[in-house]
């Protein structure tokens, strides 16, 4: 078989490209373009076209460059693409480079006021009278700068075929149905649309046409989904410290906790405490989890570093809590507004001494919701901190999804004894010891403070203790305790979300792909495109650590296994190797770690190289 690299662009001089291209908008941060871009996404969504958005933004409040890519895909692909056929270049500081990256046959939309000139002959230019349009729309002075971005919305609507009705609805959606701001923006959009209609003959092949692929679907960010999942999971104490890109997760809790508000008193069932730092945030969770609340925080890598010590305490004292790590790129402050999966290994073994943690790995906004409630259940069932590793791409970008499914089982509180069940327990066993393994699953029975029973109290400590929760420096007690906690980890292995396996056919394909998290859209797309070129692959998506037994089964049954992930060191591949004594010479790590969401193209290139 002869394998060829997929060409960089298949769109050189095609005559008609429908719903299969990417429109990129380059602006300055803080210029209000987020609103314009959201309007474009919502417009395509309303037209029934599968759409996804990727915001590449700076760590800055105002002024630095930002790029937003909107991908329409008739085939339903929602991963990042490496090139954008259409570039709206509204930032003079980056325009030269932005224009140079447009593939041949592409389109550049640029303010006419710049008098920039048209340096390339293989792309189509459209120049827009931005200042004039805004001035003519008689927008109040204070809104002019921000609303200028609506000019490209109107021009794009005309050029690529979005009706004004759709834009109006999308504006209302974006402004939460508030007429006044929506209509002020619409005034500029309409003016730009009409101007383009009168002055810009269509000279490019790209068009949006209505489809029926988004009916019944939702548009949501992963962080909002995680917030909703937590609220439906009964979270009752949230303590947090702001950090990009996790902040919008707790914002989501604040935005939607009204669904849990007590209707009679108007009081909250979710306490949200903004802590003084991440050390305090997790300390509050541990206090709350210990006292019987369902406690959750969201943070990112630097916050996880600060939480390391307390995590060890919660692990060893066996206290439930949930920590969302919406990852950015480290080490150190790193790239705070870029994405990656570099925290995996750190989360897995966080804190000093022999520690090992449960880490859930959502691969979609739907799973952010599911794992929002599942993590709270697992934390209480296992009496341990549970991490959920999302990332900036999943957490902050808008994704299309089926509506979330209601939790399929009641809230799990684990082995928490009430006054009555403690009484029953003591009748049955003649005793109750906090850390004794009565059920041979490594998980003891706990009480929470406030239970009116003379035997309910125990002493919680991070120092050595025996099964009676009494201070102990005896080596035998230490070993017995750690063995039990390790046994608990085996219990976790069976009850955490299991891998999702997608096979190409009845017989195992030669290549097996292992991946996790937000790489999923790129892998789905890459597999289809590879299959079209005759390369079949099977795919196992890991959804949690500790690894399920089926991961090793998958590895054994494939001739070549590629572990695809978005970090520099191939951390999942390391974990797989670390936990197996088998010969895994057929397992290869394909790790990216370039700070951007993974693309199908990157995967295809690597696999084609490997096969070649």
């Amino acid at each position: 078989m002869v394998l060829e690299m997929q060409p960089r662009s298949e769109t050189a001089n095609p005559s008609h490209v429908v719903n299969d291209f990417t429109l990129m908008v380059a602006t300055k941060n803080g210029s209000g373009s987020q609103t314009s871009n959201e309007v474009l996404i919502r417009s395509l969504f309303r037209m029934g076209i599968p759409v996804s958005g990727k915001n590449l933004f700076p760590s800055n409040i105002k002024g630095l460059p930002t790029w937003y890519s909107i991908r329409a895909s008739k085939d339903g692909y929602i991963g990042r693409k490496e090139y954008n056929e259409i570039a709206v270049t509204f930032n003079e500081l980056t325009a030269a480079e932005d224009i140079s990256k447009i593939p041949a046959g592409g389109v550049c939309i640029i303010p006419a006021d710049w008098k920039w000139g048209q340096s390339r002959h293989d792309i189509t230019y459209y120049e827009l009278p931005v200042k004039e349009t805004v001035t003519a729309a008689a927008v109040p002075q204070e809104f002019r700068d921000r609303i200028a971005n609506m000019v490209y919305v109107g021009a794009c609507a005309y050029l690529f075929g979005i009706s004004m009705d759709v834009v109006r609805q999308a504006l209302l959606d974006t402004f939460n149905q508030k007429e006044k701001p929506a209509m002020m923006n619409f005034g500029v959009v309409e003016r730009a649309f009409n101007w383009a209609q009168a002055n810009l003959p269509k000279r490019d092949p790209y068009v949006f046409e209505p489809m029926n692929e988004t009916a019944g679907k939702i548009l949501i960010t992963g962080n909002e989904a995680a917030a909703l999942g937590s609220l439906f999971g009964g979270v009752s104490v949230v303590a947090w410290y702001p950090i990009t890109p996790s902040t919008s997760l707790v914002d989501g809790v604040l935005d939607y906790r009204h669904i849990r508000r007590d209707p009679d008193t108007g009081k909250e069932t979710v306490a949200v405490v903004q802590a003084e730092d991440e050390l305090a945030a997790i300390g509050m969770l541990i206090g709350a989890g210990w006292a019987g609340a369902r406690a959750m925080t969201s943070t990112s890598g630097p916050g996880i570093s600060l939480m390391a010590e307390f995590t060890g305490l919660a692990y060893f004292a066996e206290i439930p809590c949930v920590v969302w790590d919406v990852t950015r790129v480290g080490p150190s402050t790193g790239l705070p507004t870029r994405t990656g999966q570099g925290d995996l290994l750190f989360l897995y073994v966080l804190s000093h001494g022999d520690t090992r943690h449960v880490v859930l790995l959502p691969g979609s906004v739907g799973e952010c919701f599911d794992m929002g409630w599942q993590s709270l259940d697992l934390a209480e069932q296992l009496q341990t901190p549970v991490f959920v590793m999302s990332d900036l791409d999943l957490g902050m970008n808008i994704w299309m999804s089926d509506p979330f499914a209601y939790p399929d089982k009641p809230i799990q509180r684990g082995k928490t004894l009430s006054k009555e069940t403690l009484e029953g327990f003591i009748e049955q066993y003649g005793e109750w010891y906090r850390y004794k393994d009565y059920d041979q699953d490594g998980v003891g029975y706990r009480t929470i403070p406030g239970i009116d029973h003379p035997k309910a109290a125990y002493f919680t400590r991070g120092t050595g203790h025996n099964e009676k929760a009494i201070y102990s420096e005896r080596s035998e007690d230490w070993v017995a305790n750690l063995k039990r906690i390790h046994h608990k980890f085996e219990t976790a292995r069976a009850i955490v979300p299991q891998p999702v396996i997608s096979n190409a056919g009845d017989q195992p394909a030669r290549i097996g792909i292992i991946s996790y998290g937000s790489n999923d859209p790129a892998i789905v797309e890459a597999r289809e495109l590879l299959a079209a070129r005759g390369i079949q692959t099977d795919y196992l998506r890991v959804r949690a650590l500790p690894l399920a037994a089926s991961v090793y089964e998958f590895i054994r049954t494939h001739e070549q296994v590629l572990v695809i992930e978005n970090n520099f060191d191939g951390q999942m591949a390391q974990i797989i190797r670390m936990e197996s004594s088998e010969n895994l010479s057929h397992l290869k790590s394909l790790s990216l770690g370039d700070s951007l969401p993974m693309t199908a193209q990157w995967i295809i290139d690597r696999i084609v190289q490997t096969e070649g």
Binding site: Y256, I259, E268, G283, M284, E309, P407, P454, A457, G462
Partner: protein, 340 residues
């Protein structure tokens, strides 16, 4: 003799102490036992919280029927914040030391105070790191000498001053050798609604008890200067009226949230603990003069406690039934429509 809820004093004890014989901390544990017994505290509702250090070991030595949490160094305040938010019915007694509060935990200490987390915050302050064998702490006095580490040339952090400046509504200082005063102040602190700081100078008999050391027994006994004479009058306890008038002609009455009073008889200095400026002044003056000022230094009408500023439901979050933890399927369906 049994107290109002039928418990003997012995019922309020904990495990035997493992601290050095004669440690001031053990004396404080005993006062906590007495106060809990006198006030008939229901032990199942009490939580004991501590960080790391000699002081932080002591929750094991009192109120054995209460849940306890010995957390990490300096970070007990956040654990206490979480626990009291999870269950607003709990009575929290926090024990910390000068290292735990004044150094690693200074930030959490001040933020706990700022949030007005309802608890009694006992600082067992010996001006030295005991468990690591005698280093200076942030509350060690300037000019103090220690055997191995020599002369302390840095000014001390006054944890009461920090508390007053940080917005605490109850700030007291005492001396572990003065059991009557410790008990009175602890009772008032227990009755306070909000963060009540009680900084108790507690000599370290092993590492910081040279007669000239400012936190030694000898120095404390010789230089303690109480601000007032005290009486704590629990809620519902009526004293003969004449007696009050006779004993406390110049008395300041400070009423606690639960209706109890602490009555302070003014001594010569005329300190009024309701005057914040004065509290700061007397503390700064005492520091300059290396005086050891004890008593209720500052008190103000309680601000809203954290669970109030969080506007959470009255019933403990930890005990909410599933129906209040998970909205209906219909609620999810409606929510999903808003994202379409």
């Amino acid at each position: 003799m049994a107290n109002a809820i039928g418990l003997e004093r012995a019922d309020y004890k904990g495990s035997p102490s493992t601290l050095c014989p004669g440690c001031g901390h053990d004396s404080i544990s005993n006062q906590i036992i007495s106060v809990a017994y006198d006030m008939s505290l229901p032990m199942h509702r009490v939580i004991k919280l501590s960080g790391i250090g000699c002081s932080s070991k002591t929750p094991a030595y009192f109120l054995g029927r209460s849940h306890a949490f010995n957390a990490v160094h300096g970070r007990m305040p956040s654990v206490a914040t979480g626990a009291t938010t999870a269950n607003n019915q709990l009575i929290a007694i926090a024990v910390s030391g000068d290292g735990d509060t004044g150094s690693i935990g200074l930030g959490q200490y001040k933020h706990l105070i700022r949030r007005n987390v309802p608890l009694v915050y006992v600082i067992e302050n010996n001006g030295v790191y005991g468990l690591t064998k005698g280093q200076f702490s942030a509350t060690s006095d300037e000019g103090q000498k220690l055997k191995y580490y020599g002369l302390n040339e840095l000014p001390a952090i006054d944890l009461c001053l920090e508390a007053v400046v940080g917005g605490a509504t109850f700030v007291a200082r005492s001396f572990s050798g003065d059991s009557k005063q410790v008990q009175t102040l602890l009772k008032a602190a227990m009755a306070h609604r909000g963060t009540a700081v009680v900084d108790i100078i507690s000599p370290c008999v092993t590492f910081n008890n040279a007669d000239e050391a400012n936190k030694s027994y000898a120095y404390g006994k010789a230089n303690e200067k109480p601000l007032h004479e005290y009486e704590f009058i629990p809620a519902g306890y009526v004293q003969p009226r004449e007696e009050i008038v006779a004993d406390y002609e110049d008395a300041i009455e400070v009423q606690m949230h639960d209706g109890s009073f602490i009555k302070l008889k003014k001594l010569d200095n005329g300190h009024d603990p309701r005057n914040r400026r004065q509290a700061i002044d007397v503390l700064e003056q005492a520091q300059r003069e290396q005086l050891f000022l004890t008593g209720l230094l500052y008190y103000e009408e309680p601000r809203p406690i954290l669970t109030e500023t969080l506007r959470i439901v009255d019933e403990p979050l930890a005990l909410l039934p599933d129906a209040k933890l998970r909205p209906s399927e219909e609620a999810l369906t409606n929510l999903m429509k808003s994202f379409m």
